[in-house]
Symmetry: C2
Subunit: 166 residues, 2 copies
């Protein structure tokens, strides 16, 4: 049985090898590929408003963070990042993470969600976010130094979550 749990230190540690592999691959995340486990924990769990893992039989299938994308007059827009464990790909985990995060964002009072750096070569993710209602609202030229493809563009994606305006 799958269930969401708030990411604590132990859950993060069990997910860290997956996290490290994803960041080291330098294909999807604008995180330092050589970041330490402590830096990762700070960025993924401590600094955000919330962080969740999707767990099945004590195995972490994936994780996400949720935070405000900006302050003050723009603090109604949330920002999230998602990671899926290698062994759990192709099972709809990213979809579950994103749907859960949208619910959490609404519960926390956010009205919209924005992704600031969706690497343009990450086609599987882009298609999924689009299916879930996110639009590409901007393209950052030469934004990401892809490990094998060189400098590629990144997309900014956005979805209005609330039924009504502020």
């Amino acid at each position: 049985m799958m269930n969401f749990e708030k990411t604590n230190k132990n859950l993060f540690l069990s997910f860290w090898p997956e996290f490290k592999e994803i960041v080291s691959a330098q294909e999807t995340y604008a995180f330092d590929p050589d970041m330490s486990q402590q830096q990762a924990y700070s960025i993924w769990v401590e600094q955000p408003l919330e962080s969740y893992v999707l767990v099945e039989n004590d195995i972490v299938l994936g994780s996400y963070y949720l935070k405000a994308n900006a302050m003050g007059p723009s603090n109604h827009i949330a920002n999230c990042g998602y990671m899926v464990s290698k062994h759990a790909r192709g099972q709809g985990v990213a979809r579950q993470l994103c749907l859960h995060s949208q619910q959490r964002a609404l519960t926390l009072g956010f009205k919209a969600m924005q992704f600031n750096s969706v690497v343009s070569t990450n086609e599987v993710a882009i298609r999924l976010w689009q299916k879930l209602g996110f639009d590409i609202i901007g393209t950052i030229p030469k934004a990401y130094q892809h490990k094998t493809k060189g400098l590629v563009d990144s997309y900014i994606m956005y979805k209005w979550l609330a039924e009504k305006d502020l």
Copy 2:
């Protein structure tokens, strides 16, 4: 005579009334309109890589910060924010700040510069950034709660600074 100086605590304190007025106006900055002087100092001077003031006869005409807009594979893109003192408007101060910041960004090894939240109603700023070579690369719908105009869009603006790719 005008000159640029690194923002230190005293220079920031002399600029703080201007800073506070700009943020309180809730027309241009995605900062908490009620932020404290300590929070402002942290965001504007301590957290960024660099912060400068443009000074004339011991009076601060304006200030900017410079930092990396993202980490790791995207850490070649800089991000800046600029503020001009009320009494110094219409004298090309913002232009000088932006030109100086572009030079500093190149010196620090950045290849591009990105503004994440240019409020769409801030037409004077948008025209100036465009004149200085920045393009609007994206529009964030309903991104900014403007004090008098309600929810307005923000633009993401971008300029490639380096002559060559990475």
